[in-house]
Amino acid sequence: MTRPTDTPGAAPELQRALARAARLDGANQPVTPAEPVTETDNATLYRYGHADRPPLLIIYSLVNRPAILDLSPQRSVVRRLVDGGLCVYLLAWHPPGAARRYLGLADYILGDIAEAVAWIGNAHDQSPHLLGVCQGGVLALCHAALQPCRSLTTLATPVDTGTDGDQLAALARAIDFDALVQATGNPSGQGMAAVFASLKPFALGPQRYGGLTALADADAAAVEAFMRMERWMYDGPDLAGQAFAEFARAIYQDNALVEGGLMLDGQPVRLDRIGCPVFNALAEDDHLVPPAAAAALERHVTGRCTTTALPGGHLGLFISAEAHRRLYPALLDWLQAL
């Protein structure tokens, strides 16, 4: 029998790299130990670190899974924050089933987030710092606009989608999102991943997989890291149809955070009501959230806003060496100085 590595014409390194990757376990396990402490209607609240430390609540995006924040011991945002002296909480969203397709943004923001903040406030006798990631940053901004906050950190968060070069906003402009969710129900996570990949098909296709041969003789951790990223990118959760349509319309079609007009249960979301200190981090080559879209935040909040720009793309803000060398130490210093 011919072994794959003996196949004439095939690159043996590539075959070996693929075989090593295929033998890995198929699920992304968390790197940092976590404990589930409570359930909200649509999420599980996890705690990392000691409960006697100041609390920080991470609000992750509804798109993709928060594993990107804890992908490897060397590049774990969660571990970095825990090591920095915080008790970190993560609100891990449950993928909505068909029966929850009418969940709206108000349910997540006024329901789950408010509940998690209240739970942490009771447990610690102090309000948590909030940290919103990408779309989770928008959810955190909405919460902070409606409820007083201790501090707010946003990572790669789209605020002004009317800026030049906002590809997602340009593509979303003429799409009938109500009709789309009427047709699809809950948009599938894998479908969303394909849409994101289609924005950078070369970088995420030939360039990414062309580098596979380098993994043939790499250590096990490198192969594992590659596959963890692969699973994270293409195995996102489905999205609640209603919330997806509301978000796309409000943020990408109406630019509602800047222009106004976003209402949650009849309450207007106004960024100028955010008076707490804000730390806003953005990536200079982010093709999903252009720097100008994120940087606009400081012009709209009334609290003191510190903006930090890092070279690199969207994901680099969470997993790049530069982010872990510069951004997170700066964030921890900022939090400690409050």
């Binding site: 690159a11 209607d41 068909a98 029966a99 929850r100 397709r101 009418y102 969940l103 108000a106 349910d107 006024l110 329901g111 408010a114 509940e115 209240a118 070069g165 590809q167 340009a170 593509l171 402009r173 003429a174 799409i175 009938d176 009709a179 789309l180 009427q182 047709a183 699809t184 129900g185 924005l199 098909p201 070369f202 970088a203 030939p206 360039q207 062309g210 209603q242 249960d265």
Partner: protein, 251 residues
């Protein structure tokens, strides 16, 4: 209501429902076979039946021609009476108006989707051709005209393709025309699926089975209940906070 003259004698008269005489031939053959007592007799009777039908067909040749002429004349009269418009301009008439409307919508939306898909594919084809032409130019610049005789490293070829195609793809994606075409395709697909689902729902409901419309109704009802509970909980939380504040600062 059908009258006694609507169907002539199956063997002899001209039959409006069987202008080619196929039914009559089958009938003659069946009767011939039925009365036969042996296979050989059956074959003989079958041959006789076929010959009889051939003779009858020959006799009816003229009447068939007259029938077809009459039919064409009738259609010529009916044609101008019917509307010369798109199917979308014809209202539902008669029984099952909802189903008629859905079928009309299906035809329209399928047409819109096909057009949107064709426009998008045309854009993609133009982009691909432009990328391939630029790729070829780039290879010629690197390796000269005699490309076939040279073996380039796969990695170098991939890099060359990426460098050539990526900026063109990104420029294409940033064009308003491309974005409009993609939006038109997504919208056309959404509307087509919406109609297909509605038709499937009609069928399922007519069989007493659960439909997606029914499931959505239940989901919407659950959502109404969930929102009511969330507001109640928020009100209770506010009340507790107010009571706590009252305890901390008694008036």
């Amino acid at each position: 209501m059908a009258g006694p003259d609507d169907h002539r004698d199956a063997h002899n008269g001209s039959d409006w429902t069987d202008p080619l005489g196929v039914g009559r031939l089958l009938l003659r053959s069946a009767e011939a076979m039925e009365s036969a007592r042996s296979p050989a007799e059956a074959i003989n009777r079958l041959v006789a039946a076929i010959d009889a039908e051939r003779a009858a067909q020959a006799e009816r040749g003229n009447s068939l021609d007259a029938l077809l002429k009459h039919w064409a004349d009738t259609l010529r009269v009916i044609g101008p009476v019917l509307p010369d418009t798109d199917i979308g301009d014809i209202p539902a008439l008669g029984p099952y108006p909802r189903r008629q409307t859905l079928l009309r919508s299906l035809a329209e939306r399928s047409d819109t989707y096909q057009k949107a898909l064709a426009a998008h594919l045309e854009g993609l084809t133009d982009l691909t051709e432009s990328c391939l032409a630029a790729f070829r130019e780039s290879l010629i610049q690197r390796y000269g005209e005699d490309l076939g005789a040279r073996t380039a490293e796969p990695g170098a070829l991939i890099q060359c393709w990426n460098e050539t195609a990526e900026p063109r793809y990104e420029a294409w994606l940033a064009r308003a025309q491309t974005q409009d075409r993609i939006a038109a395709l997504v919208n056309a697909w959404s509307h087509l699926v919406e109609t297909l689902k509605a038709l499937a729902d009609e069928t399922l409901e007519s069989l007493g089975l659960p439909s997606s419309r029914g499931m959505e109704d239940i989901s919407a009802e659950l959502q109404r209940q969930r929102r009511r509970h969330r507001r109640d909980i928020a009100a209770l939380r506010a009340e507790i906070e107010a009571l706590k504040a009252g305890q901390d600062h008694p008036s």
